[in-house]
Amino acid sequence: MNLALTPEDREFQREVRAFFANTIPDAWKTTVRAGLRLPPETLTAYQRCLADRGWGAPTWPTEYGGTGWTPQQLHIFWSEASAADAPSQYHQGLELIGPIIFTYGSQAQKDFYLPRIISGEDWWCQGYSEPGAGSDLAALRTRAVRDGDTYILNGHKMWTSYAHVSTRMFVLARTSSETRRQQGISLLLVDMDTPGIRVSPIRTLDEKHHTNEVFLDDVRIPAANLVGEEGMGWNYGKVLLDRERMVAAATAMFLPQTLRAVRAAAARRRTSTGPLIEQPGFRAKLAQVEIEALGVQSMVLRLMADAAAGADSGPRGSMVKLRWSELLQQAMTLWIEALGPQAQHFEPLDGGGLSDDMPLALQGALFSRVTTIYGGSSEIQRNIIARRALGL
């Protein structure tokens, strides 16, 4: 789906298409379509490749090394990336901490950190959640105590994705106790090589290593690593709300990748009356999901129009996240149905091979359960919509 394109847009589209045609190896396809991350070193190489082309930070303004693209150009870029089975860029540096640094960070922080995000030199992880603070993030208990020109961090972070390969972590920690829990929280930048940090893997249902617990034990970091003002960390999260719509939009635009995988698997799968893709029952189910995906794509276009007009999107980002995550789960279910009994063959026990798409399709189907939990669970998104859009 595309908006009306100007001749310049068309030229841009050709350029982007040509870039992806030469950049995305076939070997990435199944992993990407299953909504799983490629190995970190591969993603870093991909980031470097984009950076070399000047496209390392598609959503950033030019003054910080971004492309300065219009929402229209972003839409073209993501459409082409999606069509080429390109992976999503790892977002925790690019979309989460990067924008906070260029909005609230010191000049020194901007100069040091931003180029390293674009070049792929730094991999950032997000140290927000804790055992007792998930949906209710303001319940966090990790403490940062000022001691001269350092902060001493103590606490236990949970679900810190990719901490095991990260060079840096942005952490929300309590610097004082206030009556309002959202006050007294500060945002700190931590070098993962600092003594006192222990990363311990959390094993998840899909048997792929994504996430970790991070223990902070008297971790001393320079006081200069505080972002903005002490005690104001919660408010900086708000810049994210605005950018979240872009993350939701980009992710939703990658849904067709999964749907292509479903079609391919259903075309390969034999049944007693011909390929599965020709069975009316299956076609109807696939059509239903594709139709709903078109609905989401239309919602994304509206988000992009908001962004172009500089308008507040209200809860539209939450709405896209809700619909996108549910649809991804449905698409993955269809993929497994298309594989049939061979979805029961997850790991060969005597050196033999697996059927096409396995085990990635099943890992993707299992991991898709996470998308309605992380980044604000579906229940929390609904609460937000009830409050912000419906005024309930």
Partner: protein, 371 residues
């Protein structure tokens, strides 16, 4: 219609419950899984001692002649404790396929009941779940029969000593005539066995047969009805497993939402959460009722295909919905390997595929009831 177990069945259920608590305690689950086949052998020997392995085998073949309701009492405990021990495949499906199959079947069944051997059924091929759409050939050769073909999935076949293989003596794929059932030892010449682990800890296989010498079970060419009847019995068994598993998931989630605090209150006090739990309990109720009704109708000689197919479709839907919500309501920890809820979800996803998925059974239901 009877919706409660009699005393004997209740005792059986209790003994499975004790076994489950000892052998498959949720806290030790990862250790159990890591033990692999060695642990499986130890538990199998215990189950033999308890008489469970011989329970579904008919008395005339040296078994205890337990019916589908007794099997249900065992299987729901297997589901509740999420045991990977392949009772439905080896102890329910295989004896049902071999029932009255001749002297050599009786000998093997006795060994099976004693836990000495395992037998798995190799029925489906690459053209779908319908046991009639097979092309594996059975050719007479001298005094015997030789099988050639490919079986893409053998449920719980990785540790089987024998395979029950369906093959054609005549007719073409799709025809119910000309299907035979044959016994093949796992080390037969010309047999290539590939083994796989599934995401629920079960261990399956696929077979390639090249002129493998085989022994017929029952009358050659007339196995289609035998296979359908046996499959229905195995399906009833996995329905009970599914019910046990979804009820355990609901119970674990109820416990969790009472203790997990967010926003200063147990999450179970939020109505959004309560309504989900109510829907989960409705699904459990519906699945148990359907399973009991479908189980009660089954006899050794006849099965209501439409009812069993309907139950297979609906119970699987309930099981997946309940366990997906169980994971969802646990939040992040719901997706962790450490907690048992996601193991239940994985099992339910695989149970949906075992012995025919929803599409296959919907078609079967329609064929049987829209005549």
């Amino acid at each position: 219609m009877q919706f409660a177990y009699n005393d004997e069945q209740q005792m059986l259920r209790d003994s499975v419950e004790r076994f489950g608590e000892e052998e498959w305690n949720a806290a030790d689950r990862l250790k159990r899984l890591a033990e692999g086949p060695a642990g499986g052998r130890r538990r199998w020997a215990k189950m033999a001692e308890l008489g469970w392995l011989a329970l579904p085998i008919s008395e005339s073949e040296g078994g205890l002649g337990g019916g589908p309701v007794e099997v249900m009492a065992i299987m729901e405990g297997i589901g509740r404790h999420l045991m990977t021990d392949a009772y439905a495949s080896h102890c329910v499906l295989a004896p049902a396929l071999m029932r009255g199959g001749g002297e050599h079947c009786a000998v093997l069944l006795e060994q099976l009941g004693a836990g000495a051997i395992r037998i798995a059924a190799a029925l489906i091929e690459d053209s779908g779940f319908d046991p009639a759409s097979i092309r594996t050939e059975a050719l007479a050769n001298g005094g015997g029969v030789r099988l050639s073909g490919t079986k893409i999935h053998v449920e719980d076949g990785a540790d089987a000593d024998w395979f029950l293989v369906s093959a054609r003596t005549s007719g073409s794929a799709g025809s119910r005539d000309g299907i035979g059932l044959f016994l093949v030892p796992c080390d037969a010449d010309g047999l290539d066995v590939r083994r796989f682990r599934s995401v629920d800890g079960h261990r399956h296989a696929s077979l390639v047969l090249r002129e493998v010498s085989a022994t017929p079970v029952g009358k050659m060419g007339e196995a289609a009805d035998r296979i359908d009847l046996a499959m229905d019995r195995a399906i009833l068994a996995v329905l009970a497993e599914s019910v046990g598993s979804m009820e355990a998931s609901l119970a674990a989630t109820l416990d969790y939402v009472r203790t997990r605090q967010q926003f200063g209150a147990p999450i179970g006090t939020f109505q959004a959460v309560q309504h989900k739990l109510v829907d989960m309990s409705l699904a459990c109720e519906e699945a148990r009722a359907l399973t009991m009704v479908a189980t009660a109708q089954y006899t050794q000689t006849a099965s209501d295909a439409a009812l069993v197919a309907a139950a297979k479709v609906r119970v699987a839907q309930c099981g997946i919905a309940v366990t997906q919500q169980a994971v969802q309501l646990h939040g992040g920890v719901g997706t962790s390997e450490e907690l048992v809820v996601s193991h239940h979800l994985r099992r339910q996803m695989m149970l949906e595929l075992a012995f025919g998925d929803a599409s296959f059974h919907k078609a079967r239901f329609a064929d049987a009831s829209f005549r």
